[in-house]
């Protein structure tokens, strides 16, 4: 019985967390002045890839 209660509690807490977690705030997506702003924006990356004529290597 205790196990069931624990399980139900975990499920409820998880649902609550999923529903309420606002995520981490970040810079505006597409902001080319920050690493993350650019690298999380497909449109921005495409523009820079075309404009720079260079091919990002894709890290390690």
């Amino acid at each position: 019985m205790i196990k069931k209660i624990k399980l139900i509690a975990i499920v409820i807490i998880s649902l609550f967390w999923i529903a309420c977690d606002p995520g981490h705030e970040t810079v505006d997506i597409g902001d080319p002045s920050t690493c993350e702003g650019c690298h999380t924006s497909e449109a921005t990356l495409k523009v820079y890839a075309q404009a720079s004529g260079t091919e990002p290597s894709g890290g390690g």
Partner: protein, 418 residues
């Protein structure tokens, strides 16, 4: 493997409620981009990626001692000398063919500087960094994030393991060769690491090649033939070292390679080996291997001259892409001791099937009809073995090198010979 689009290689895709990279990897996000990658933030494009002035580096794990420590210091310390990082086996083969049969990777530094520098420049460029297994596709597959710069504890089989081990392992395992079936372990949805439990980060400086690793998987790890009596196994494996390698019966034809794959990085056509490899990977003519990197399917049984290293009297051998002047593009015209090591080497094809052309008994009878070079099918079965005459005809410059591995005087006298 089709390369990713340029933008795609560095794209971190946020989905659902993700609002930043921290929602993908909250641990590494704390560190911040520039801490590992250098560069400058905020900044314009050029400044942000300025290596000269701001130390930008695309793969921080090239300097794992700095950028992956102190969190991963144990792995970083041993991985620096792992088989994947150092390619000890390649160093051994070069050292032997240059310095002599009794040499190994410990003697590699004694080789000519053209060889050691060329190795550092080309071979070491793939063998490898933390990031090329745990974040991105490897350099040999043109890089690119696999999953939004997520650090994956277990590498991705397709995008990491098989991206490098493609022309042989992937081709075999997934059954790409015409007429082949995928490896039975693949059809059972097994992954590389289901068998390969060896510690990939371990210091392997004591192992001359990957086959010297003490924790390599073996068939017997799962298949104990003593538990299930099998006439064929009893006949062909009378005692340790006397019988056939498992692969002799249970592997299908596999890719072999011709010619070398070094290129002159200083020439105008400085595309290194990857381009040549990719352009000719589907060519299959065994006799036109010069000038490029050619593959061809074949199946050859050879003699196991190194019983300490490999089990069985007879093994499956694969032609590897080494010629006497393989390293001439690096400025080293001839390997001084090229003849001391066979160019048909022991292999462990990853295309295992219970029933193969060797074991198929469809229509009745015994499988020896598919293998033994006598009786009605002798002329066909002869082709399953590597004979001195095969080498003399197709690879005359490799005749001496392969004398230890050909089967001419190793098979029963009653069997036909070419």
């Amino acid at each position: 493997m089709v390369p990713l689009e340029p933008w795609e290689k560095v794209f971190i895709k946020l989905v659902g409620r993700q609002k930043s990279y921290a929602d993908i990897d909250d641990v590494h996000a704390i560190i911040g981009c520039v801490t590992c990658h250098g560069g400058k933030e905020p900044a314009d494009f050029a400044t942000a990626h300025d290596s000269e002035n701001f130390g930008f580096v695309r793969d921080p794990s090239i300097v794992a001692e700095t950028n992956c420590n102190p969190c991963h210091n144990g792995i970083v310390a041993t991985s620096a000398n792992s088989m994947h990082s150092k390619a000890w086996g390649e160093q051994t083969t070069i050292a032997q063919r240059e310095l002599g049969a009794d040499k190994d990777h410990n003697n590699f530094s004694e080789c000519a500087i053209e060889l050691t520098e060329g190795f550092s420049r080309e071979c070491s460029s793939c063998h490898t960094t933390c990031g090329q297994c745990h974040i991105s596709r490897p350099n040999s597959a043109a890089g690119g994030f696999i999953e939004n710069h997520r650090f994956k504890k277990t590498p991705d089989q397709t995008n990491n393991c098989l991206a490098c081990h493609g022309s042989r392992i992937a081709t075999d395992f997934e059954g790409h060769l015409e007429g082949n079936e995928p490896d039975v372990h693949s059809t059972k949805y097994m992954k590389c690491w289901d068998c390969h439990k060896e510690d990939m980060h371990a210091d392997a400086s004591g192992s001359a090649t990957r086959y010297h690793l003490s924790d390599l998987p073996t068939c017997e790890d799962c298949h104990n033939y003593f538990e299930v009596p099998n006439f064929y196994h009893q006949i062909h494996w009378p005692s340790e070292g006397e019988g056939l390698s498992c692969f002799v019966c249970h592997s299908q034809p596999y890719n072999n390679c011709n010619s070398c794959h070094t290129k002159d990085p200083n020439s105008l056509n400085a595309d290194w080996w990857q381009t040549g490899y990719a352009e000719s990977a589907t060519e299959t003519d065994v006799h036109t291997g010069s000038g490029g990197y050619k593959e061809f399917p074949d199946f050859k049984i050879g003699y196991n001259y190194d019983h300490k290293l490999h089990k069985g009297k007879f093994i499956v051998v694969r032609h590897i892409p080494i010629v006497r002047d393989s390293y001439s593009p690096w400025g080293h015209d001839q390997l001084a001791n090229y003849d001391v090591r066979p160019t048909w080497e022991y292999t462990s094809p990853h295309n295992i099937q219970r029933f193969t052309p060797q074991t198929d008994t469809t229509g009745g009878g015994y499988c020896f009809k598919n293998c033994h070079a006598k009786g009605d099918s002798a002329s066909i079965n002869i082709d399953r073995y590597l004979w001195q005459s095969d080498v003399d005809t197709d690879y005359p410059d490799e005749s001496i090198a392969n004398m230890p591995v050909v089967v001419d005087d190793k098979l029963p006298d009653t069997w036909q010979k070419p």
